[in-house]
């Protein structure tokens, strides 16, 4: 991987992956919930937009 021209920090990169993993759990749960709700409410575009923001 080619790194950027600013010092991006080794620790920042490693921890970024870990934090992203942690954040992904509620994120995907919310997204799935959003999809289910969208089907239930039949207002799919609006809900999807909110979840994806």
């Amino acid at each position: 991987m080619v790194l950027g021209y600013i010092d991006i920090g080794s620790g920042s990169l490693i921890i970024q992956a870990l934090i992203a993993g942690l954040a992904a759990v509620p994120f995907f749960f919310r997204r799935q919930l959003g999809r289910v709700l969208a089907v239930v409410r039949r207002d799919e575009p609006q809900t999807r937009e909110r979840v994806q923001r």
């Binding site: 950027g4 600013i6 991006i8 920090g9 080794s10 620790g11 920042s12 934090i19 992203a20 954040a23």
Partner: protein
């Protein structure tokens, strides 16, 4: 007076006849900012060419400019280049006034952070990413934050982490958290730390309860711990191997956005935040003052008004309503924040509120003092408006009247200045608790002091008060 450039730092170095490179643009090898015969240009290097072409061909550039999130540019002829390394030359839209993150209110810094995340999200959708997340790449243009650096994007490899993550946390999340949860004046720390607040410092200063917020516990506290262990040699190898799926990267950005949105600050309890509603003079005096200010503004020319000691912006709006563009300076973070919120709610586009203490204005900062310019170096005021301010400088800060006059003359070429005598209740209250060591603080002393730098154009008493308004033209 030269107009400031997009990336800041004027007082430029001469690179040839009529050619000046911008001392704030040296860090980014993608392209140098320079001025040729007064016009601002940026040359794009050969190495950046694939990224630039992708930015345009993917539609990302048009998308961002269309949303008002990215400052537009025009293509320029290649013979306008600075040197042989140029692959292409552009002419960015030039902003008349540059402000810095340490001058922004809490809400301004927060909006700038959210814009940076929004831009990154759009970039990801186009297969690119922001390669830096510097708060200095954001400026306020017509009331809204806008990214000024079109060379901030690069192709995102599949599974690539966000390389500007650390910078985002240092430039935005850490100062916002400190301002919201510790003290709003922590925003001024950005003056000392030009690449953002070090995360270990932020983690140490934040209240323990900040660990209860997922966003701060991870992006600041955990992040700061990880930086401590990252000096081991193995860490660099591991870092180069880091992969982040697209979905996880989206989750990371979503989490950063929630962390920023979760930070709020209400401007109460600061010194002047309620001053706007409790003015110390009568309704008749207020009406007379507004009428006189309007009449005096009418007798001045030029676009730019600097409202010094603007408070929540009553007179800034008065000037804006007359078609002027206004830089509204106040030392109180609460008053400036209220001003900014009012402008956001009313779609005010002509006024830029900033938090600046005039007794200690922003200095020149960064490499060789040339990256960030001092307030005086950025002065572009056609008219200064200084209402109910001089007594704060003279009596509150012991700045003598000749020094006030000289400083004002460095900022603008015309001035509308209010003089409040010692007999006024407000000044009397300031003097009640201290020795009166200001024998020259009188209307005659004021006139005398200002006559050194300014020609008196008009002088009008404000009705139903002991105050006087002066209109000056710089000598």
């Amino acid at each position: 007076m030269t107009a400031p450039s997009v990336t800041g730092a004027d007082a430029p170095k001469r690179a040839g006849a009529g050619l000046e490179t911008d001392p704030a643009s040296f860090r980014d090898p993608s392209g140098v900012v320079y001025r040729r015969d007064g016009t601002l240009f940026r040359q794009i290097s050969e190495a950046y060419a694939p990224n630039w072409e992708l930015l345009l061909s993917s539609g990302l550039h048009a998308d961002l400019v269309g949303r008002g999130w990215l400052l537009p540019h025009e293509e320029a002829a290649i013979d306008q280049r600075l040197d042989e390394s140029a692959w292409r030359v552009i002419r960015p839209l030039e902003l008349d006034f540059i402000s810095y993150p340490y001058e922004w209110t809490f809400g301004q810094l927060r909006d700038a952070a959210l814009l940076t995340l929004s831009v990154q999200s759009r970039a990801m959708a186009a297969g690119m990413m922001l390669k830096d997340a510097s708060a200095y790449n954001i400026q306020f243009h017509e009331g809204r934050p806008v990214l000024i650096d079109a060379l901030s994007f690069e192709r995102a490899d599949e599974d690539a982490p966000w390389i500007a993550y650390r910078q985002f946390c240092q430039h935005f999340l850490a100062p916002l958290a400190l301002m919201a949860l510790r003290d709003v004046r922590c925003g001024l720390m950005l003056r000392d730390f030009i690449d953002g607040i070090p995360l270990d410092m932020a983690a140490g200063l934040l209240p323990a309860t900040s660990r209860l917020r997922f966003g701060l516990a991870t992006h600041l506290h955990l992040h700061s711990r990880a930086q401590r262990t990252s000096t081991r040699p193995a860490a660099a190898d591991r870092a180069a191997q880091v992969k982040l799926s697209r979905g996880r990267l989206e989750a990371l950005l979503d989490s950063l956005r929630s962390a920023v949105e979760g930070l709020r600050w209400e401007p109460t309890g600061t010194e002047w935040a309620e001053y706007g509603e409790t003015t110390s003079y009568s309704q008749a005096a207020a009406e007379s003052k507004a009428r006189l200010v309007r009449q005096m503004l009418d007798r001045t020319d030029g676009d730019w008004v600097w409202d010094l000691g603007a408070n929540t912006g009553y007179f800034s709006r008065l000037a804006a309503d007359m078609g002027r563009r206004v830089v509204a300076v106040d030392g109180d973070a609460g008053a400036a924040e209220r001003h900014y919120r009012y402008l956001r709610e009313t779609d005010g586009t002509s006024v830029l509120p900033l938090v600046i203490d005039l007794a200690n204005p922003s200095p020149a900062l960064g490499w060789a003092h040339r990256e960030r310019r001092s307030l005086v170096e950025r002065a572009n005021a056609d008219v200064l408006v200084a209402l109910a301010l001089v007594h704060h400088l003279a009596i509150g800060n012991n700045v003598t009247l000749p020094l006030v006059s000289r400083f004002f003359a460095q900022l603008g070429r015309a001035a509308i200045v209010e003089f409040v005598p010692k007999s006024d209740p407000r000044v009397a209250r300031m003097l009640a608790t201290r020795a009166d060591v200001f024998p020259n603080y009188s209307i005659d002393g004021f006139r005398e002091a200002f006559s050194a730098d300014w020609e008196l154009v008009d002088e009008q008493p404000i009705e139903d008060s002991e105050r006087t308004l002066f209109l000056f033209r710089r000598r």
